[in-house]
């Protein structure tokens, strides 16, 4: 049993003790998933080097033991977009919920089940990809054939998150029984909302894999309908970005303010933002399909409006988090309009990484609005503009935040002091500089028409697209990000294996509210009601579209082209 299981922490003024809420049998699956997440980040991130250098014609996929560029690209996408994000969220949000509800998770069986399904799913998918039986990228669009082991593995990764979702909902219910009539603690609430949103959002990919792709890859179904499959994929495929982001938001809203010594404006607005994310995240997927031939314009326009709606809670986040940061900066002696910014604890690697992640997210959000903007999409769709955009969102806003979180999370879980703090600071800044160069390169090249997901280094038309300088920026920026990743793993391994024992157990940072739950409308606490609204909106956005596809035009047998 680690030191943390006996941790005694004091939160926000009152002498609340947390003895006994972290059970050893619930902590090991949390730690286990964190390890899986970091293995995914390490291997998936390393593949990024191959892709970055490819832009300038340096082809090293053979040196990385890959058969093709696209096999490495598949590993990059699957390990980072699915394994790293899912496993980290499962670990982090479970821990946050325990602290938020100040009680253990409702089910130890589900907590451990989430770990085992994540592990088995990873092994199956990894086996299929490494043996070149599933070089289908993380989008696995039919009719490109992949091994059924890959689809089974992907399904298990999602099931692992759904087990966590069920556990969180049960934990909230148990808390409510123990505290009749009280408002759900905000820190627990935001974790549950994140996973309830994802439970609704993952439905598309679950149906796609279980009812179409798995039977089709096994030969039970002879053909499938690629256009319809894409609708199911993107039903999940956009909402998933909010599932990646919301754990980072939890930290930005409720933990970073504490770390910088500030208070959060109000319980109401935080709750409202998360509820809006629940309601508007899912019915937005068609904006990824603006240039698909088979979808009527009117449905695309419906999703244009819902996509713009979901930008709103992100703008609210910008305000709320900024206000809390300003509060912290002023409490530390910052004066003037912007003077508080320099007073923030930039020397703390956990804080610095997350502040830099937020800065990059401003650009990531702005370029996301370009993608969502119907007619602008004609210029950028499937060009390298898109990876330029999402390396600033999931690639930095999320990843660099998770890295920042891990700078307190790993000491918390291991009872060891964070080692190499200056190295950790350099890591965060290097990532920041790297991603800005990388994204600048990808975005500019995309505007000139450079396609995404292509081995540009080997493309005969490479010299016909005048993106020479842009591709160099991409290559240099991407390389800096990989070096930054390397520094991160040095810090992590140093801390885990040689870190000094903490004399006092760490506490999970939890911010105080200026205006607390008592001022919040009880309506904002009724998760069932908002979930119903979300379901209705999804039905409006998707049922007419899906009806157009019935009966299905199942015309495509599986084809292996890699």
């Amino acid at each position: 049993m680690s030191a943390t299981a006996r941790a005694r922490t004091v939160a926000g003024g009152g002498a609340v003790t947390h003895e006994g809420i972290f059970l050893a049998e619930q902590l090991w699956p949390i730690k286990g998933q964190l390890v899986l997440a970091l293995i995914g980040l390490a291997i998936g991130g390393l593949m990024g080097l191959m892709q970055a250098l490819d832009r300038v014609g340096i082809v090293i996929y053979k040196a990385m033991l890959m058969q093709t560029y696209y096999q490495g690209l598949t590993i990059h996408g699957v390990l980072l977009a699915f394994l790293f994000t899912f496993a980290f969220s499962n670990a982090f949000v479970s821990l946050v919920a325990i602290r938020g509800f100040e009680r253990p998770l409702a089910s130890t069986f589900l907590a451990q089940g989430a770990f085992w399904t994540m592990l088995v799913g990873t092994l199956l998918a990894a086996y299929a990809i490494l043996t070149n039986q599933a070089t289908v990228l993380f989008t696995f669009y039919a009719p490109m054939r992949a091994s059924s082991l890959f689809f089974l593995g992907a399904a298990l990764l999602v099931i692992s998150t759904l087990l966590t979702a069920l556990n969180l909902v049960l934990t909230r219910r148990a808390w409510q029984r123990e505290h009749p009539g009280e408002r759900t603690p905000l820190l627990g609430f935001v974790g549950v909302v994140t996973y309830v949103m994802w439970a609704l959002a993952s439905l598309g990919v679950v149906v796609l894999v279980v009812f179409f792709l798995l039977p089709w890859s096994l030969g039970w179904l002879k053909t499938t309908d690629p256009q319809f499959n894409r609708i199911l994929f993107w039903y999940t495929g956009h909402a998933i970005v909010y599932f990646w982001l919301m754990p980072a938001y939890i930290s930005w809203y409720l933990m970073v303010p504490r770390q910088v010594g500030g208070r959060v404006f109000s319980d109401s607005l935080v709750r409202l933002a998360f509820i809006l994310l629940l309601v508007f995240s899912v019915p937005t997927g068609l904006h990824h399909q603006y240039v698909d031939p088979g979808i009527p314009t009117v449905m695309k326009v419906v999703h244009l409006f819902t996509t713009f709606s979901v930008v709103f809670p992100s703008l609210v986040t910008a305000f709320t988090v900024m206000a809390a940061l300003e509060d912290g900066g002023r409490a530390r002696g910052g004066t003037g309009l912007l003077g508080w910014i320099w007073k923030l604890p930039w020397g703390d690697p956990s804080v610095a990484a997350q502040l830099l992640a937020m800065l990059v997210f401003i650009l990531g959000g702005a370029t996301g609005i370009v993608n969502a903007s119907y007619n602008l999409n004609n210029v950028v769709h499937n060009t390298s503009f898109v990876p330029g955009h999402f390396h600033m969102t999931v690639g930095t806003a999320v990843t660099l935040s998770f890295i920042g979180i891990s700078y307190w999370l790993i000491p918390f879980l291991t009872g060891r002091e964070l080692m190499g703090r200056r190295l950790a600071l350099a890591q965060a800044w290097l990532w920041f500089v790297g991603v800005l160069l990388f994204a600048r390169g990808q975005i500019a090249a995309g505007l000139l028409g450079e396609p995404r997901r292509s081995s540009i280094g080997e493309a005969p038309y490479r010299d016909l697209i005048s993106a020479g300088l842009d591709n160099w920026l991409t290559a240099i920026g991407g390389t800096l990000m990989v070096i930054s990743g390397l520094l991160y793993f040095i810090v992590v391994l140093w801390t885990v294996f040689a870190g000094r024992r903490l004399t006092q157990p760490l506490e999970i940072p939890v911010a105080e509210m200026r205006f607390g739950a008592r001022e919040t409308s009880p309506r904002l606490d009724q998760l069932g009601f908002w979930f119903l609204i979300a379901v209705i909106l999804v039905a409006i956005a998707y049922i007419p579209t899906i009806l157009l596809y019935l009966p299905l035009q199942s015309v495509s047998p599986p084809i292996k082209v890699y």
């Binding site: 698909d292 314009t297 999409n377």
Partner: protein, 155 residues
């Protein structure tokens, strides 16, 4: 419910910003006439080579400066992979795939469309300047994906 004045102002500004964005998009669509591709029919990919117009891929002169380019996108080439038109031509590209999903982006224009088995894709571009316009496949379609491209030569 307690909403601070700052919070209220910020929410109104955020809402206004998004409304402004949507108005901008509306102007682009209604005034400048920029539209996304819309459904152009279904087709059985297994019978592509015997289904008109894909039984005879190539460029057709529709008269009055208008052309139709019927292009098959298959792993890993466009067929045809080059068309020649005069300056001022308006070309409608009609595309379909007999195998996996492909993409079509014509650099320097707004023409951008997915080519999905079972669907016919259509986009139109006007060529007012002489030169060569590159088009490339922009959806991963197997290990030869990056070799898949074509061009419009405008004289």
């Amino acid at each position: 419910m307690r909403i601070e004045a700052y919070e209220r102002i910020f929410m109104i500004l955020a809402g206004l910003m998004l409304v402004l964005g949507i108005v901008g998009i509306g102007i682009g669509a209604l005034v400048a006439g920029v539209h996304v591709p819309s459904p152009a029919g279904r087709i059985d990919p297994r019978a592509l080579s015997t289904t008109p117009p894909f039984d005879q891929p190539g460029l057709r002169d529709l008269g009055g400066g208008k052309y139709e380019a019927v292009v098959i996108a298959r792993a890993w080439q466009f067929q045809p992979d080059e068309i020649q038109v005069p300056v001022g031509a308006t070309v409608t590209f009609t595309l379909a795939s007999p195998d996996v999903i492909h993409g079509f982006v014509l650099t320097g224009t707004n023409a951008n469309v997915m080519v999905i088995p079972g669907q016919i894709s259509q986009v139109t571009a006007r060529f007012d300047q002489p030169g060569e316009y590159l088009w490339v496949c922009h959806e991963y379609c197997g290990f030869g994906h990056h070799q898949m491209y074509g061009k419009v030569v405008v004289r």
